[in-house]
């Protein structure tokens, strides 16, 4: 059966899920961190560190799922370090984020040198496309369990932020540190916890890169997914469910160039890659104005000042 242009659509759908999953985890992590009023630009370092840790643990233990867990823990440590340093007066969270990016990637490359050659056990995938006899559709619907986990996390996180006491505390701290202190909430501790949990999610996002797709460990593994988390969260208007749609959009846009190549459209490969960034910038230009700030933004965030 000839799929032709349908193939492009199917490939974009598959790419949206395959390439979008790490975006989903880093953006959920960043979303939680930003809800508490801090911005963590260092998730790129966390992501790479998670990728390395996940790969190394999977190789040594033979269990990719243990690798995913340890990647999350490594990310958690980096997140806690970031927010601990930021909890001192006059320390700028954006600058610390850039430093953490440098430190995290440096540490991952340093410790990960021996793991560039060997091949670790891979995370299994679930075939949701077995009913179809179109190979492209089958390939597109080969979904990693982490994507499903990500959907659950997005739903649960959104619900918890809205409906639980813990979520309310995080939001109060993110809206006004002064009000939170007046209520007797431990502002720094809540922020450290939120950033550490955010780091945990970002670390898992990294392990997806090394243990599922593209499935290797090398120094060029990440293409800036961690840095872009900040933009994704803005696009998602600080809604965890929004992070899911935006991550799929991002993944789809990244898959558009290569899948168009398969039907002979070769030009504009790099321009397609830039579409998400241009869209984010356009969205910020449209929704920001000197008179009002972004809808849904936590007011303690340095981005809004």
């Amino acid at each position: 059966m000839e799929v032709g242009w349908w193939g492009v659509l199917i490939a974009v759908l598959g790419g949206a899920i395959r390439i979008g999953t790490p975006f989903l985890f880093v953006s959920l992590g960043e979303c939680l961190t930003e809800k508490s009023g801090r911005i963590n630009l260092g998730l790129e370092g966390t992501l790479v560190m998670g990728a390395m840790t996940g790969y190394a643990v999977s190789l040594h233990s033979g269990s990719p799922w243990l690798g995913v867990l340890c990647a999350g823990l490594a990310g958690m440590v980096l997140g806690a370090l970031h927010s601990w340093i930021c909890s001192f007066q006059r320390v700028n969270d954006i600058a610390v984020g850039i430093a953490m990016m440098l430190f995290g990637t440096g540490l991952a490359f340093f410790l990960g040198k021996p793991y560039i050659q060997p091949s670790a056990p891979r995370l299994p995938s679930i075939d949701l496309g077995a009913w179809s006899d179109i190979p492209q559709l089958q390939a597109a619907l080969q979904i990693n369990a982490l994507f499903l986990v990500g959907i659950v996390v997005a739903v649960v996180l959104g619900w918890m932020l809205k409906n639980t006491a813990w979520g309310l505390k995080v939001r109060v701290v993110g809206e006004s540190a002064d009000a939170a202190r007046a209520l007797g909430l431990p502002v720094d501790r809540i922020r450290i916890l939120s950033t550490a949990q955010g780091g945990f999610l970002a670390g898992i996002g990294g392990s997806y890169l090394s243990l599922y797709y593209p499935f290797n460990w090398s120094e060029g593994l990440s293409s800036g997914q961690g840095l872009m988390a900040v933009a994704l969260v803005i696009f998602a208007r600080w809604q965890p469910i929004g992070c899911l749609w935006v991550s799929l959009l991002w993944g789809g846009a990244a898959a558009l160039g290569p899948s168009l190549q398969s039907v002979g459209v070769t030009g504009g490969y790099y321009i397609f890659n830039a579409i998400p960034y241009i869209m984010t910038l356009a969205m910020m230009i449209i929704t920001c104005s000197p008179k009002r700030t972004l809808v849904g933004v936590p007011r303690e965030l340095t981005v809004t000042r």
Partner: protein
């Protein structure tokens, strides 16, 4: 102790103290990796500053850092955090190469001047977009300049693989070579290209502009309190645009120098993280253009030592990345010490 001495001594002591703490932390790090920290530091010193050859290696790396540090340092006076140096370098290098290719018969001095102007305009306009969005649309400049980096890199990759591609650059898509005659050459008596001179001159000019002119004074007021500056009748929007443009021009010049002094063509080597390292330099120098010069040399030295570290101690090349990360974190952390420290000093003096 007199107040003025205190004021000058405080940042100096804090910076020296932070560097010492970072060296201890990094020493522990390499020791836990099985290397002797004292030998590692000796090797680093030898590789960075030990011989005239290593000095040249260091200074070549320091030159672009001085320029990209200005991309972050100058807007810092206005209280803006711009991290778009990478984009300015890429746009500067790209447009410098493109204009050079449109004038094949012009004499080298004309070509180089035009390249420098084109690079500075391209970089300046690129960061000015971020400044303008900030002022007129209240779009956060940190995020927009980060996004602009990615858009610039995509534009570079697109143009060098399509319109401006040299068909002979098979594995590494690039523009055509700008011609050996148009390369900028070295400072007589050394192997150093002129980038170092441009870097130092740019930093000195930036320092003079920000600390000894009315324009710089106005910018510092606007950086301290936008509302007060507006009440005083200062054209805050124009200050933002001019400063972002100057900052971008410095980055664009760094990109032009990469093309005219090293590669001879524009390709993805322009995207060599000089922009991000420049942010580090600017923060460590606390945005002071004169302090940028020694900090850039120090960081250039650290980066230059990576090769020898790898050969003599079998430490991976990422070791210097870890060291940069540690220094950066400790120095940012030390920001919290300002003020507390001077109180201690006053108590000690009285």
């Amino acid at each position: 102790m007199p107040q003025t001495l205190n004021k000058a001594l405080e940042p100096f002591l804090i910076i020296v103290g932070s560097l010492t703490v970072s060296m201890v932390l990094f020493g522990i790090f390499v020791a836990s990796a099985g290397a002797d920290p004292f030998e590692v530091y000796q090797t680093m010193y030898r590789a960075a500053f030990g011989t005239s050859f290593s000095w040249q290696n260091t200074l070549v790396r320091a030159a672009p850092l001085m320029l990209t540090a200005l991309c972050t340092a100058l807007p810092g006076y206005l209280g803006l955090i711009i991290i778009g140096g990478e984009g300015a370098v890429v746009m500067g290098g790209l447009f410098a190469a493109i204009v050079a290719l449109t004038m094949p018969t012009a004499p080298p001095i004309v070509v180089l001047t035009t390249m420098a102007l084109a690079g500075m305009i391209a970089g300046g306009v690129w960061l000015m977009i971020g400044g303008a969005l900030r002022h007129y649309r209240a779009v956060n400049e940190t995020i927009s300049s980060l996004l602009l980096n990615y858009i610039a890199i995509a534009l570079l990759n697109h143009l060098v693989t399509s319109t401006f591609r040299d068909p002979e650059s098979l594995n590494h898509p690039s523009t055509h070579h700008i011609g050996e005659a148009n390369m900028i050459g070295v400072i007589p008596g050394t192997d150093l290209h002129w980038g170092l001179v441009f870097g130092i001159v740019a930093c000195v000019i930036a320092w003079f502009l920000m600390h000894h002119t009315v324009f710089g004074f106005a910018s510092q007021i606007a950086g301290g309190n936008v509302r007060a500056a507006q009440v005083a009748g200062l054209p805050v929007g124009r200050l933002i645009l001019i400063i972002c443009c100057a900052a971008g021009a410095a980055g664009g010049l760094a990109g032009m120098l990469e093309v005219a002094a090293i590669h001879g063509r524009a390709n993805d080597t322009l995207n060599a993280n000089y922009g991000y390292a420049g942010i580090l330099v600017a923060f460590v120098a606390r945005n002071n253009p004169l302090a940028i010069i020694p900090v850039a040399v120090l960081l250039g030295g650290i980066r230059a030592s990576s090769g020898l570290l790898q050969r003599t101690h079998e430490l991976p090349d990422a070791t210097v990345l870890v060291m940069q990360g540690i220094i950066f974190l400790v120095i940012l952390f030390s920001e919290t010490l300002y003020g507390r420290f001077s109180r201690l000093q006053k108590q000690g003096a009285s």
